[in-house]
Amino acid sequence: MIKKEAVIIISLLLIIPLVSAGFFDFIKNPITGKATSQPTNISVGVVGTNPVQITQVGPIAAVNPTELSTTTIAFEIHMYDPDGVADINDTSVNATFTKSGETSKTTGNSGTCTFVADLDSYTANYSCSIDMWYFDGSGSWTISAQGKDVGNSTWIVNNSATFTYNELKAMVISPGALTFPSVSPGGINQTSNNDPTLINNTGNYNGTIDVTAIDLYGESDSSYWIYAENFTSGLTEGTAICLSGTSLVNATATEITSSISNRGNLSSGSGAGQEEIYYCIPKVPEIVSQTYSTEGGGSWTIAY
């Protein structure tokens, strides 16, 4: 009898761990052949719970602007995701160049960077490029790189990198030579008849403008010349500059009062990036009549 009870107890102990249903469930839920429904605990591995990290931006060496054009600055961004490269949102990676007082620049036409390759299981490399204009300010620009992953979707920004955009002093002037009407010795307030000299700033320099004049020597008899000091120069049209303009000095860079290279977008048509300089001979010297020009002494120079 004891032996029989022991067999039953051992049998129950063997059965209980194997059956998870209630002991009398078969009464409440009769067996019909249909699968029974029951709550099931499942465990799903969610990829991307960790945000990405931007581990490298650039570096970008100092960049020279290009006259009257853009300069494409190419650089790399490395994105690291502890959940693996598959979790990085490839199309989210982008960058912006910023500088106080300047218009920000954003990557490419689509505004993103391009996936290049996986560097390892967790890091991917992206190629970015941004165009800088000739009139963009010189100095240190901040590179703001950002991106996100698929699982976390938090935008991560890295502003730690900078680069230097160099200064470019450049100009296009026209006309290339001055003309005056025929003038008489002793004549006063003779202004040029083809001025102003239009100075288009094709770089990013912002500052004053100098004119270096050279004495004009007679072409027939070079023992006579007109001193550079006989000329004045200024920013307004008409005879006003004959009195108030800046007197030029032979072979000396002379700053034209109130002149400014006026850095800006020449295509805007608003006068940005332009300056105009007018010329006058307040009093024509009493001198031998002949043609005087820069042939003997050399050309004048407009400079920053």
Binding site: L168, A170, V172, T179, S184, T197, A253, S293, G298, W300
Partner: protein
Amino acid sequence: MKKVILSSILGIILLVSFVSAFGVSSPYWTDNPLKMYPGQSITVDLNLQNKAGATEDVTASVALIEGTEIASLDDGEYEIKAGEDINVPLKVKISKETQVGTTYKIQVEVKTVTPGEGGGVVMGTGMNTEFDVEVIEKPAGVKEGLSVLAYIIIAIIIILVIAALYFLLRNRE
């Protein structure tokens, strides 16, 4: 009558009407000084550009106006083809004896070489590249690199040692 005669003779007229384009880019400028430590030597590339839609080559004269005590360059004329640019190296060297805090000024004058043609007042363009060189303390972690000559000497010594060992072993055999 006198005036007519004189005015017809004393004329400054335009014979040429070209457009002059030119540019110079520098990594250092008035607001962006070059910082160097005593004993340091570097080369600064001045970038001369003849772009901006240029269709003709340009000849530019380059001259070091200020800073000759620490800087040097090959003064002279450089030809830049239309649409291209060139680099003119400016070498700067601070002697080891220079005191920290010393400031030098460098000025490089670059001008387009424009023939002063007869009959007019021909205009050229010029760019003055100016910047300060500030002498600072040698940054921590900067080590003096070996010169090329030192590398050559080391290489020769190594070769001689190897050759000596070779002949020594050969003689033993």
